[in-house]
Amino acid sequence: MTTETSAEPTRRDFLYIATGAVAAVGAAAAVWPFIAQMNPDASTIAAGAPIEVDLTPIAEGQDIKVFWRGQPIFVMNRTQKQVDEARAVKLSALPDPQTDEERTKAGHEKWLVVVGICTHLGCIPIAHEGLFDGFFCPCHGSQYDSSGRIRQGPAPLNLPVPPYQFVSDTKIQIG
């Protein structure tokens, strides 16, 4: 390779830099569709619309599992004992402090609605098991209480509460 000194170095350098820059911008832009295509497509997003759940068949002390956006949602009709236990816990005793009131809807205290995915590594906890009258995750032993809050084990956070509201006393809309 010989290094030549051009008579007009600035003009030549400008041309090279401009060409390289434009080509680089084009290459970067061309990558975008290939990344964007991996995001959920429009029909998947549309299929994630809110769902309605009828609460009448759930007796006190029972729970059901429904699916919304491919995730299991636990809807639990808590007993008075469970509610009282959940409310009696001191916030300082919780790894992820949240009151039971924050996690339920006023006037519908007995209903607990949580995303049934362990905040450790994504397994599905089992309801009505474990030390706290709530949920127990068999994978690595996380214990959740009757409000779905983490009490023991490796999971860092409470079971999340999905967006939902009461359409009537016996019907909720999730999403």
Partner: protein
């Protein structure tokens, strides 16, 4: 590449690596220091363009496979879902589909270039044979890829091509059953085609490596056909050849983008927008344009086995080319006779392509035989004979002497490139005129707001058209691929999300089973589609005089009519894409109360000027004043026909506006880039002269 590498690793790490895996040295000697003849013209950039196209096809293909479902029940819809719902899915699909055509355009130019300049001659025979193998693999891959969308042409193309093997004596039928994996083309066939379509490009890539390896051992041929002798005859691959190739690739991308963004369906068959139907054969089964010459050869021989043999022979003969043509002079530049025969051969190939798209009858069959004979005669008679008798012109002593003695031939190259593009369009046009034998006139061309590079949908028109669909068409027809949410999406009729919800809620959708195990009806939601009013196909048939009303989601793309020569040349430049809408509009207005003299209308049918056979089961669906408009548009049949057609066009391609908008940006970008690359290339090459 031959001989030890001149690469000198600088950093300690590179020195360490070079002793263990001399990959940097390989790249350096193959793509940087590699000497290329300094007189290569732009025909030589197609090698680089082909590498680029292979990469484009593999990358877009891998992505498409992430969204595609290889099952007969889902394949068609999954492709439509890619185009409609996947982010940039329309772009990826258009790129892959048009990319196949671009790949073949480039490979044909590459092959003709090899033929003209004698690039197959010693010592490059193996290089040439590897190229023919790549070409065969490309043909297999392209064919199997065309089957995957599982449209009418996919299904019947697969049936016809696999049936070629039934010509094999004794075991033919068993071979065909083996290829199908069943008693007919079906799900096992689709599954294996998908698997192989995914595999073969990697095989191609492997053979390409061998091809490039062989090239780097023998060195490149060049327009004089004289081997480089001294240092002065060559330049380093980088930056000289690299810059030239990159500029060529950029120009090619510009041409490619014209198809991706503005003519995505120009190179395909409209019939492939109809889902595969094993019960109905399309009136004309035509392969993709790049197989047409071989298709013509197949049909020209009136014997099944011999036809198949001739077709495969037409490709196999290329393998023997290095020995059929034993002339000492390589480049046709110095072979006055060979040059003329070469151009004659190009014409023969184009004519065969054109004939392949014509119905196999009358004069076309005769012509196809003449040109088939000419095709084989070129290889088996002309070339062997010429190499013995031809008096060649004196060759230049060296490449540099040739470069110095001659002015620029760029003009000639550009002119011949343009001629080739024109010839190419001629061949694609041939595909479109394949249906000419049906006779009859073309529906009148209408003005559409969505036509042309800047076309957009007229939103009030789409809303009127939707009203007509809802009040009239939806009594019989579904729009299975359209969801209520689409009505509120950008580029559509411009309803608000509330309006779309309200429209959906008016529909009652069958759903279930519920907890009690029963089916039930519920109001429609945004994610529901415009379902059929009939519970099943039988009910639809009996309500419509035996004919199933087709789903209208893709009607505007699935309907086409011949435009004929020379119309398709203008179509290419004007981006004419409106056959479907013109046809639908004409059909809606084509009803006549009394059929013309001498036409007997079957019972229960209606005369329609534009329907094939002129007798249609559907009664005239619209009449004046049937649907009321609030915007003061005339409430007449022509207005209704036009509005509902525009709506169906949108239903067939909801992303049309996004496609054209992005297209403009890409075109402007590529023009700027090509310009910059051109000047950079000139600057770099100015050192050489």
């Amino acid at each position: 590449m031959s001989g030890p590498s001149t690469y000198q690793p600088q950093s300690p790490f590179m020195k360490w690596l070079e002793q263990r895996l001399p990959i940097a040295g390989l790249v350096h000697s193959s793509f940087i220091a590699y000497p290329t003849p300094r007189n290569l013209n732009y025909w030589w950039t197609f090698g680089a363009i082909l590498s680029m196209m292979l990469a484009v096809q593999i990358i877009t293909g891998i992505v498409l496979a992430m969204h595609y479902t290889p099952h007969v029940d889902f394949a068609f819809d999954s492709v439509e879902r890619i185009v409609r719902d996947v982010n940039y899915g329309w772009l990826l699909r258009n790129t892959h589909a048009a990319g196949a055509s671009m790949f073949f355009i480039a490979v044909y130019i590459h092959m003709f270039r090899g033929l003209y300049y004698g690039s197959y001659k010693a010592p490059r025979e193996v290089l040439w044979i590897l190229g023919v193998i790549i070409y065969l693999l490309m043909m297999a891959t392209g064919f199997m890829g065309y089957v995957l969308p599982w449209g009418q042409m996919s299904f019947w193309g697969a049936t016809v091509i696999t049936n070629l093997f039934s010509a094999v004596p004794f075991v033919g039928d068993s071979i065909v059953t083996l290829l199908w994996g069943g008693y007919s083309v079906g799900n096992p066939t689709l599954n294996r085609f998908f698997s192989l379509h995914y595999l073969l490009p990697f095989v191609i890539a492997g053979v390409v490596v061998l091809h490039v390896w062989a090239l780097h051992v023998t060195g490149q041929n060049n327009p004089t056909g004289v081997e480089p002798k001294t240092e002065k005859d060559t330049v380093a691959f980088t930056p000289y050849a690299t810059m030239k190739d990159v500029f060529g690739m950029s120009c090619f991308l510009l041409f490619f983008s014209w198809f991706i963004f503005y003519m995505p369906n120009y190179l395909g068959e409209a019939d492939n927008y109809i889902p595969a139907n094993p019960g109905v054969t399309p009136p004309h089964i035509v392969p993709e344009w790049y197989y047409l010459p071989f298709y013509a050869i197949l049909r020209s021989i009136p014997n099944k086995l011999m036809g198949v043999v001739a077709m495969f022979g037409a490709i196999i003969v290329l393998l023997f080319l290095p020995w059929l043509d034993s002339a000492k002079v390589r480049s046709s530049r110095y072979r006055p006779l060979a040059k003329r025969f070469f151009w004659g051969f190009v014409v023969v190939c184009i004519m065969l392509g054109w004939l392949g798209s014509k119905p196999a009858e009358g004069i076309y069959t005769v012509l196809a035989r003449v040109f088939t004979f000419a095709y084989f005669a070129y290889f088996l008679i002309v070339l062997p004979l010429l190499s013995r008798v031809e008096k060649t012109l004196p060759l230049p002593n060296s490449i540099s002497e040739d470069v110095l003695s001659k002015g620029k031939t760029a003009g000639a190259t550009a002119a011949s490139l343009l001629a080739l593009v024109m010839a190419g369009t001629l061949m694609f046009g041939g595909v479109q005129s394949a249906k000419a034998a049906e006779g009859g006139e073309s529906p009148p061309s209408l003005e559409w707001s969505f036509a042309g590079p800047f076309g957009t949908y007229d939103r009030p028109q789409l809303q009127r058209g939707f009203k007509i669909y809802k009040e009239v068409c939806s009594a019989c027809h579904s729009l299975k691929l359209l969801q209520y949410r689409n009505l509120a999406e950008p580029g559509g009729p411009g309803f608000t999300i509330e309006q779309a919800k309200a429209i959906a809620a008016e529909a009652s959708i069958k759903d279930g089973p519920n907890d009690a195990g029963e089916m039930f009806e519920r109001p429609g939601r945004l994610a529901d589609t415009f379902h059929s009013p009939f519970p099943n196909e039988q009910a639809a048939r009996s309500a419509n005089g035996g004919a199933v009303p087709p789903d209208m989601s893709l009607l505007a793309k699935a309907r086409s009519y011949p435009r004929g020569f020379p119309q398709f040349v203008f179509d290419f430049f004007t981006q004419f894409q409106e056959q479907g809408p013109n046809y639908i509009d004409a059909l809606l207005q084509g009803y006549q109360d009394t059929p013309p003299e001498g036409f007997t209308l079957p019972d229960g049918a209606y005369y329609n000027k534009w329907y094939p056979g002129h007798s249609i089961k559907m009664p005239p669906p619209i009449s004046d004043g049937q649907v009321s408009f609030d915007d003061g548009s005339p409430e007449t049949v022509p207005q209704y026909a036009k509005d509902v057609t525009a709506f169906l066009m949108w239903a067939a391609e909801p992303h049309l506006e996004a496609r054209k908008r992005l297209g403009l940006q890409v075109m402007i970008f590529l023009i700027i880039l090509s310009g910059l690359l051109y000047f950079t290339k000139r600057k770099i090459w100015s050192n050489v002269h």
